[in-house]
């Protein structure tokens, strides 16, 4: 087995196993972090395992009685998993209130033994008052978590965790760059799994593995790529089967703007201020994300820059069906891409999607179209 393969194997995703192993090894539990953004550093500092909750491909049964069909598939599957007890292995769950659906998901929580810790990110982000608010909001999260685990989470531990997370973000940005240069070695699904595995592992371990992987990629010769190079933008590009289709069509994902992937690593936690203020300021500095309010919509020029910088052929918007924030950004992206002459394809994302035929047809026609250009 090659060195690269052995690293990738260690990055394999098995959430239940990860939680059980972690409990056995450390005697400490895991805390669920509902997508998209939570102050994981606080959980990490408590010595616990933060687990990303981003839904999954599950059959929707119980949820259909409690949530209308026009909620996005991430929240549908999260609710289904909750109702069927899959999250009962967790010590607590954090839930942001970034959109109307998330607000409801936090309120509808039913598992009495797994406390729900809901919180709010402010929208008026640039005001100093927003930082103060969010710092207190995070402090409230911290106190509720301390209550659940019955011990304090000291400032120094959080400072250390911030360090670990910033380092992880930097390593992930490096990986994204190296993977973009080596589509021959890292196919779309592998790329996705490297990002996703970070949600089921302590970040220091993930950092070490990905750093090693990136070094291997950087050692490898850069080979010319004759397939289309795309930028993926959206909440997520799942189920994995759509990434398999991309591989079959010889598509390279040279960079991404996915909430589940690069948006997680876009902005570091800054150095100055009290611990909670530092975490809060990271949200103030966030940009280019549909969930972080910005009337300048920096996401739009950012995507254009990403295309240029990575010499991409096109932007593919992986549109999470029923996601208001993403759907409201799309017309502006469309407008600008047309103006800039950048080919754009919107594909609908439904985590429960069983058949990829429709996706394949759209993607394949798009690729054929790109070849003619």
């Amino acid at each position: 087995m090659s060195k690269m393969q052995s690293i990738l194997e260690k990055l394999a995703i098995n959430p239940v196993q990860a939680v059980e192993d972690y409990k056995k090894k450390t005697g400490k539990g895991a805390v669920g972090c509902i997508a998209p953004y939570t102050p994981e550093e606080i959980i990490h500092a408590a010595g616990m395992l933060p687990i990303g909750l981003w839904g999954g491909q599950v059959e929707l049964n119980k949820v259909r009685a409690v949530l209308p069909a026009f909620a996005c598939s991430i929240m549908q599957s999260i609710k289904e998993l909750e109702l069927s007890g899959s999250y009962d292995i967790l010590t607590a769950v954090l839930c942001p209130s970034s959109c109307d659906t998330l607000k409801a998901i936090g309120q509808k929580w039913t598992r009495k033994d797994v406390p729900m810790i809901q919180f709010v990110h402010p929208h008026n982000r640039k005001l100093p008052a927003a930082r103060t608010f969010l710092a207190k909001e995070y402090q409230h999260v911290r106190e509720r978590l301390e209550n659940v685990i019955g011990e304090p989470i000291p400032d120094e531990a959080i400072v250390q965790s911030i360090q670990v997370y910033n380092e992880h973000r930097a390593v992930m940005r490096e990986f994204a760059r190296a993977a973009g240069a080596h589509p021959d070695l890292i196919d779309p699904k592998t790329r996705h799994l490297v990002f996703k595995s970070a949600f089921f592992m302590r970040k220091e371990e993930h950092t070490a593995l990905v750093r090693e992987l990136t070094a291997l990629l950087d050692e490898a010769p850069v080979k010319p790529w004759d397939g289309p190079k795309i930028i993926l933008s959206g909440i997520m590009a799942e189920p994995d089967s759509i990434l398999d289709v991309m591989k079959e069509l010889h598509i390279a994902v040279v960079a991404d703007d996915l909430a589940q992937e690069s948006r997680q690593n876009r902005v570091d936690v800054p150095e100055d201020g009290t611990v909670m203020e530092r975490l809060a300021e990271q949200w103030q500095n966030m940009y280019g994300c549909s969930l972080a309010y910005e009337h300048e919509k920096t996401r739009v020029p950012m995507l254009v820059d990403m295309v240029k910088k990575n010499q991409a052929d096109a932007v593919v918007v992986a549109m999470m069906k029923f996601c208001d924030p993403e759907e409201f950004d799309y017309p502006m992206i469309k407008q600008t891409m047309e103006k800039e002459n950048i080919p754009l394809l919107q594909v609908e994302i439904d985590q429960q999607m069983q058949s990829v035929e429709q996706f394949r047809t759209r993607m394949q026609s798009f690729v054929e179209m790109l070849r003619h250009e």
Partner: protein, 406 residues
């Protein structure tokens, strides 16, 4: 309402029509003179703009008017051609399309010089107004009220909202180039408080048995509390309405002369394109909507000398409450207005309301021992509603209420 008094005092309905029309006309004429126009969300703090003498227009109200006049479909299709999804809020789609084509079946609305948004109704408003500001390149004043996931707003949320009020005043001074007039501000707050008082009082009269108020009239009168809360015309109209209703109660004149067979609560926004259909289908069954959350929607009581009290009022609006608080609110509506059943409008445009229905329905029904129905519809997209389905469901509700009587 000094300047326009006619010889015989006009009815509240005439006043409603007069003032609504006036608010649009004033804005159109003002814009032509170079005065500033602001678009605002329906429960945003209008007090600041009123103080500055800015013309206020309300896209939600405008979209509802377009839908009620059967002009929604073409606007919606235009928005979809711009790239908006069929699943986005239809008010937003109508408004964003209007912004692009500036023509519609209802009154025209001059484009804004700046916008004012408060997310105490939903988070979708944030994206909607973000898009207006981005597309028109106009300033945006945002009052972000953090969602109250706990029963009461936190003190730090109140601090944050209060700080935004202060920031809004600064922004307003910058936009208008004028100093904020705190004396005028106190007057406006006084008028807004009186408007809220008379609105709540008039709407509250639906609690009488039988009700003097035809519940669907709430949907008509609502336009004024949305559009003119800071103006005396609004206050005077609802004062007049309260007097009229009081008189009807005294004289024993119910809204339904044929008898009010059932009293129900309507949860959610109206189905504007089918307002008269819905009304007729319900009236045919003797069903009056006596309860809704609208009377409480603009019950913004606050201490005029305390900005934190104002912050608390604006964040404690229906949709921004926790599930538990919303259940309490709705239980209270059912009880206060003696409702025998509830219809929940599963509104394709409003994820914010819909996604808590299951828990709300079950619990409100349990506490009040009343049956309920859910019907599928949309506040302004006419394609998301079926008349026959609606009729069957409200009839089903009537039959369940009838059974409980016996």
């Amino acid at each position: 309402m000094a300047e326009n008094v006619q010889k015989t005092a006009p009815s509240s309905r005439e006043m409603l029509g007069y003032y609504l029309n006036k608010s649009y006309q004033d804005a159109i004429e003002g814009k032509a003179r170079g005065e500033l126009v602001c678009w605002a969300s329906s429960i945003a703090p209008c007090e600041f703009c009123e103080t500055m003498g800015i013309h206020m227009l309300y896209p939600e109200n405008h979209a509802a008017a377009i839908a009620a006049k059967h002009g929604a479909e073409e606007m919606i299709e235009h928005a979809e051609s711009m790239g908006y999804s069929v699943d986005n809020c239809s008010y937003a789609r109508i408004n964003l399309a209007y912004m692009d084509i500036q023509k519609c079946v209802a009154e025209n609305m001059p484009l804004p010089d700046f916008v004012l948004v408060c997310n105490n109704i939903c988070e979708t408003l944030i994206k909607w107004y973000e898009n207006i500001a981005y597309q028109l390149k106009v300033p945006i004043i945002m009052i972000d009220v953090p969602y109250n996931y706990e029963y009461e707003p936190s003190e730090w949320a109140i601090d944050y909202i209060a700080a935004q009020f202060e920031h809004a005043i600064e922004q307003m001074e910058e936009i208008t180039g004028k100093k904020f007039d705190y004396n005028k501000y106190r007057e406006v707050m006084q008028i807004a408080a009186e408007s809220s008082y008379w609105w709540t009082k008039a709407m509250g009269m639906a609690a009488a048995k039988p009700s003097p108020l035809n519940g669907f009239d709430i949907f008509n009168y609502m336009a004024l509390i949305v559009c003119m809360r800071g103006k005396t015309g609004c206050r005077d109209t609802f004062k007049k309405l309260a007097e009229e209703l009081e008189e009807k109660i005294q004289k024993g004149e119910p809204a339904f002369k044929e008898g009010e067979k059932y009293r129900i609560m309507w949860d959610g926004i109206a189905c504007w394109p089918y307002l008269s259909h819905n009304y007729k289908a319900m009236r045919a069954l003797g069903m009056n909507m006596t309860g809704s959350t609208y009377p409480r929607g603009w019950k913004l009581d606050y201490d005029k000398d305390d900005i934190r009290s104002m912050a608390r009022a604006y964040t404690s609006v229906g949709n921004n409450l926790s599930l538990e608080a919303q259940i309490d609110l709705k239980t209270e509506v059912v009880r206060t207005y003696n409702c025998q059943g509830v219809t929940y409008h599963l509104n394709r445009s409003c994820k914010c309301m819909d996604f808590l229905f299951h828990e709300m329905q079950t619990e409100v029904a349990r506490r009040t021992d009343t049956p309920y129905i859910t019907f599928d519809g949309d506040q302004s997209d006419p394609r998301n509603f079926s008349k026959a389905q609606f009729e069957t469901r409200v009839q089903g509700l009537a039959e369940m209420m009838e059974q409980r009587k016996s």
